[in-house]
Symmetry: C3
Subunit: 324 residues, 3 copies
């Protein structure tokens, strides 16, 4: 692809020779001729001067840089767009393997089902989906269009998956919620007869677990992205365009808003509400409701500004004692 | 089912019309005619007055409530019992799929084995079990009666599973313990030749890992329930009727007693003992033995009362500094 | 095997009757006649006096012990070597199951592929490997010699696995990295077109997730051992002979050195460097670079000596307040 075409496609301003052919993307250090690279932070501008990349996506003109440039207000977004153009997603083959087991299911045009995939009864799968080997799709599951279900994914009975959803390897959708009532010192299992509803444009990371609701639905809203090994308890609602980073755990019945970020290894207790736009720092433990548009950190989680003060105080106490 | 029959079955006292037909269970908010709901906490009694449920399980008579009522000393237990009656567990079909691979195994009457399940040599499976697609059952595994082995579960060689055990999707029973000896800066693998023994009425959550013992057995006692993504190291013993909430990790050779609760994301170091009836608060790190019938929290875990005092002191210090 | 032969094989000094036949290894408590046991810590010498084991591996002569002895400078290493001799790894059968699906792949002599394993196109697998049921091996994957790929492992397209690698059940190699660019409040997926490279003699625990790099490679160095449920983000490099204990999480682009130990549930933020030989205490959160050959603990992680002082100060403060 010509650099000038790429510049237009990602909405950037071209500096230099637009006739260069770009075939791949590489980091500033690894790039060779024919590659485009990007400069997200100005601290790397030294690297940009040494790169062998043929072209560079950057925020503003890099002096002394040999490469042609595409200037973008948000070079990381420009990089993302270039990646999507140069490495388009594979189109499903439309083939249904004879070694898959497909029971009473409706599968849309263009969808591919690989060997050893299991699809139950009363299942609906939309168009242009790719169901990889060893995927398990239980009875009465509904899957929209253009979804990718990677190998070893389980989608249990009656769950619903939107459009353009990506389920990474080994994630569990609709396993039983953790619900027991105590009777004479023993734990009596409460049947978990609800389901999981996953919206459009959601990605669920590898080996995540999203439990089915006891009675109604555990919900993951449109555009929300889960990293790997995330635990979502039963009856939880996660809003739209939120980010749940790796190893986050959310206990039952909590409500996570829209545009929320839970950083890695955060834990959220049950029956809480985290407001829209809130950010929780890594490894924090949330034990109370969190107001919208705030940043909380620590265990128990407190406002980030208080947490940094507390850290500072403890550092001072420590310093003082070490002086004595 | 008639409400009067349900009241008798769950051992509650009927208030109102016992001839109402109950077909499903729903939350107070979602309930419609024909549903039964429950009122676990009095704080929701407002909701109870507005519910469209035909009947309500509660601790005591709710004034102004239109619905019929079943009074139970423990309404949550009553709800659990009603759920179990209205949503009985599916009975296995007794069919062995021709697309499963079953080697030299003995499978009891009424058990169902689905396509793509793999069952090794010298395996014994009891009556009325359901082995879902893609389950892996290694050589010399023994499984009792009435067990559910969901899709993508691995049960490695020589492990033993009791009766009425539920293994949620993707849990790993008997993967190798993490055992290495250091030799000239390298880590020499120690063969892990023990097994895992799981008692009766145990539930193991999705994507949990329970490692086989080096020499003897890693043990999960009767009635213990593991939530999702729990890690149990080799040679660990967990007692009876304990609760291990999501993302808990227990390092090798520790002994967890009976009736213990480890809340979400708790970590327990190796070679420790947690006494019967102990409760460890969420996200705590246990670095010493914990006495029976106590509550510990924090990292390192300390008695809960001390932990709350410490939190209070830190909050005061912070407040003082913020005033200055 | 004769005890004298075993003593020679593990490089220890024989005390007592070398003609004893040793058939298995057991703990001091469980051992019976014909067993060899080991005494790693002198605190257990009481147990050694009571053991029924026929022989004992220990550091120095145990007085009043009936069993024959093998003296080793490092008895734990001696035990490891004895385990490896008495319980040698199973040799793969060399059989390729007709119920596996093998596309255009080259498989070395002596390798075993079990039923329901899926092997894609342009795959190379070396000699004497064992690919268990339900393993998924994507297109263009390369696997060296003498590897074990347990059931339910996913190895995604283009990843490379060295020699003598053990992949425990359900680990995910090469799932997509967590990379998104923000555009008008939504998260645009960045294609993850790199791969994962795993060196020689690596072990990856059950249900671990190692994400593929965005552009180049996520790397696990020779001899490094991962426990279960570990998360390794995209573009991470882990050096040689490091130990990543259960439930550790490493965010994207961090560099972990050689001989590093990350204890259980440690979290490492993105774009950090942990120097060679560093040890991070359990449950710590690493938010800054860590110098080589140091020990850090806490969240945020600080030098271990400072952390213990801080714990001591807090304990004193608490004690003082409890006295008041």
């Amino acid at each position: 692809m010509k650099l000038s075409e790429l510049a237009t496609a990602i909405g950037g301003e071209l500096l230099g020779n637009g006739d260069i052919e770009i075939s791949s993307v590489a980091s500033l250090e690894d790039a060779e001729s024919g590659d485009i690279s990007y400069l997200a932070l100005h601290s790397y501008s030294e690297l940009a001067n040494q790169t062998k990349a043929s072209a560079l996506i950057s925020h503003s003109r890099v002096k002394n840089c040999q490469a042609a440039q595409i200037l973008c207000n948000d070079p990381y977004l420009g990089f993302a767009k270039a990646m999507r153009i140069i490495y388009p997603a594979l189109k499903p083959s439309g083939k249904i393997s004879g070694k898959a087991e497909i029971n009473d299911a409706t599968i849309g045009d263009g969808s591919q089902v690989d060997s050893f995939a299991f699809i139950g009864n009363e299942v609906t799968i939309g168009k242009n989906c790719h169901i990889y080997p060893h995927a398990y799709i239980g009875n009465k599951v509904q899957i929209g269009d253009n979804c990718i279900v990677h190998s070893h994914v389980s989608i249990r009975e009656e769950c619903t998956i939107g459009n353009r959803v990506i389920l990474q390897n080994g994630c569990r959708i609709g396993s039983d919620g953790y619900g027991f009532a105590k009777e004479k010192g023993k734990h009596l299992k409460i049947p978990q007869v609800g389901n999981v509803i996953i919206g459009d444009d959601v990605e669920i990371g590898a080996n995540c677990c999203i439990d089915r609701s006891t009675l109604s639905s555990t919900i993951i809203g449109n555009g929300t992205k889960l990293d790997n090994l995330v635990q979502v308890g039963h009856n939880v609602t996660v809003g739209e365009n939120s980010l749940l980073v790796a190893q986050v755990g959310i206990a039952g019945s909590s409500k996570i808003g829209n545009r929320v970020t839970l950083a890695g290894q955060v834990g959220v207790s049950g029956h809480l509400t985290i407001g829209d736009g809130a950010t929780i720092g890594g490894k924090s433990g949330v034990t109370k409701d969190i107001p919208a548009e705030t940043v909380y950190t620590g265990y128990p989680a407190i406002p980030y500004s208080s947490w940094t003060k507390l850290q500072h105080m403890m550092a001072q106490m420590l310093e003082k004692q070490e002086e004595e």
